[in-house]
Symmetry: C2
DNA sequence: ATTGGCACTCTTTGAACTCGAGTGCCAGAG
DNA sequence: CTCTGGCACTCGAGTTCAAAGAGTGCCAAT
């Protein structure tokens, strides 16, 4: 469906935008009076009031109670983000700072993500997340078995895009480094180029069959190695800026605060919230009427915002997620995001997250060409 | 100084213990009435009152205001921990559960720590911490350089006690795997057995001098490798159970909550709070009068409790830390701990943390002997 | 030494009340 | 037809006041 330009007339748009801006800044229901004062609408408060009433009718605003000002609804934020807000470009010095910080940790992806997460939470004042790329679909390039001490071996996997995973496993301690090397070489020879998810235990047995190691020993090694490969896809999430969150009004009530802290402490939950956007890189095809949450103004800005209810998570009704996808070479993708109160400075957050993503993509793509 | 048996008579001891127990459980100032009701002191509330007054006089208790019950002071908790509380042994099934969980992740120390931390926070209902061992004083056993792709190399360090660290570095991309292997072998040959902190860049240059690699290239590799070695000592802290904390009364006030969350999010701060106990394994010799915080009932229980003010940390006045030290072979040590409100179920926490520590020590010591 | 009794203190709770921000609606002006 | 000033109305926030209740300290009696 091509962007419906929304049937709001100019005045409604202006006023809705003003309400959201005002509410985001002051965290208090906004009334007609302050709007007239602070935004140069050439209108009386009475006229504004009637417009506000209409916007409420349309479901973009609501009143906590009669005789209070208006507050945006999820729908209000949604349209604000999709059509009303203005994305201001980042000041050049901020950009430079981000570039510099990220450049420093370009060699290690975990470090890069930690760094990115730190930057985002610091710059936006909310909580930030960074998820490692899933590597199940990436390809095995190298595999090494290093004997740490008799009976313990470090399995080193080199995957697509130069991603490295390793893990210590236990093996029969009669094996020596040479035998291990032969096994590793055999596996590498046969399975290099396979996607991790496609590697079965059987394939490994076939690959290593002629490595001149007694079968029962061999099988133990292979099994442990195979397990290590399977576990390479583990999710790791970096969360930064927790304390920021507790600064915002909506979390002064502890129970809300706890809900959010819990959510952010639960890897599983985070993953669930970040994952869904993975497939949808190009855009389109998002869920049902109201749940449809994919927000892009064009295919060129593939960030996604999920607001309050849209998250469909008990306890996170007062939160929003802004997420985006970074790219490593060879189709590897991961996501980074910002979590904050629903009343979030969306434009600010989106500007930052977009730039961080862009910088990561850029750095990782050109990584090999810098000395 | 040999344990002064404290000049409190039996009644005072009983009552102080009761006050602490009661307060820990109910989080409300405890009055003479409820003490008489709930604990079988064969006394009237009036007598209890006078004892309470004396305990207050001695600085073990205080009143939030006249006409409120009593609350333990830091000193009150201190003596409670040092002399009054009863450590109940863990039920066998809990022990078994802990053993089982830890045994699963014995091969990877980070995983083990994550696991331990998870167990502690879950079992105690507070926040738990686990710090990786510092490896600056550990010894280099093996070093490998694995070429990930041209220009990028994985430096793998095997240290004392089979601890593994690795890191990707960037090197001139004209070098090939064989040259790297020669360099690594040369370094390993010469420097195996050295403590990491003693390894200087010069030593590495000397060690690798005859590896038949052009000097300027060699130096770049050596420098990156040396950096990787230096950075092997990075601190990593695992924190678990944050949301637990917000359940407790003392953190319903957000500002307190934020202080704690901030502290727990700051690696530096955590480290500072956990480190000081490292040297004092055997016991004795702790600081000045009131600050002296090392609490052990005998050399066999080397845990340490730091209560409120004793932490000397702005914002953590309402918290306590219980920490202890786990041991890897070859003198490597790290620490695990629990953070909670000052009003903490100390005996419960100490029982758990002691057992976890003991289990870790045991598992790691005998790691190599299990198949 | 212990205890029952009593006066006193200080917080908590809730009701009643005022204040003010904000609304909806309407009649009249442009 | 649109906009505006005016007005009555609503509802939460804050204040005040009194009563309730928990707990204390002290003392005289056992």
């Amino acid at each position: 469906m091509p962007k419906e330009p929304s049937r709001l007339d100019e005045r409604k748009r202006t006023i809705l935008r003003a309400v959201v801006d005002e509410y985001v800044e002051h965290a208090e229901p906004v009334g007609s009076r302050s709007l007239v004062e602070r935004y140069s609408l050439n209108l009386s408060s009475a006229s504004v009031r009637s417009t506000l009433a209409e916007l409420e009718q349309l479901g973009y605003l609501e009143q906590p109670h009669t005789s209070a000002g208006r507050v945006p609804t999820d729908r209000g934020y949604r349209i604000y983000i999709d059509e009303l807000m203005e994305l201001e470009p980042l000041p050049e010095e901020t950009k430079e700072h981000i570039r510099e910080q990220l450049r420093e940790s370009i060699d290690e992806i975990p470090e890069l993500l930690r760094q990115a997460s730190g930057l985002l939470s610091q710059e936006t004042g909310y909580v930030s997340l960074a998820l490692q790329p899933r590597v199940a679909s990436s390809v095995l390039r190298q595999i090494k078995l290093l004997m740490i001490e008799p009976g313990r071996v470090l399995v080193v996997l080199v995957l697509s895009a130069g991603v490295v995973r390793d893990r210590i496993v236990r093996i029969p301690d009669v094996l020596d480094q040479h035998q291990l090397q032969r096994i590793a070489a055999a596996i590498e020879q046969q399975l290099a180029g396979c996607q991790l998810r496609d590697i079965s235990f059987i394939m490994m047995q076939l690959a290593a069959a002629d490595s001149q190691v007694p079968e029962s020993l061999l099988n133990q090694v292979l099994f442990e190695t195979w397990t290590a490969i399977q576990q390479a896809d583990q999710l790791a999430a970096y969360v930064d800026g927790m304390p920021n969150l507790l600064r915002h009004r909506e979390f002064h009530s502890i129970s809300r605060a706890r809900d959010v802290v819990s959510a952010l402490s639960s890897d599983g939950l985070l993953t669930g919230l970040m994952e869904p956007l993975r497939p949808a890189v190009g855009s389109s095809g998002h869920g049902g009427a109201d749940a449809g949450a994919l927000a892009e103004r064009s295919a060129a800005v593939p960030w996604m915002v999920r607001i309050g209810q849209e998250l469909q998570q008990e306890g996170l009704e007062d939160c929003s997620f802004v997420t985006t996808t970074y790219h490593l070479p060879e189709q590897l993708v991961g996501s980074i995001g910002v979590v904050g109160p629903r009343r979030m400075a969306y434009s600010r957050v989106i500007s930052h997250i977009s730039f961080v993503r862009q910088t990561i993509d850029h750095l990782l793509t050109w990584r090999s060409s810098r000395s």
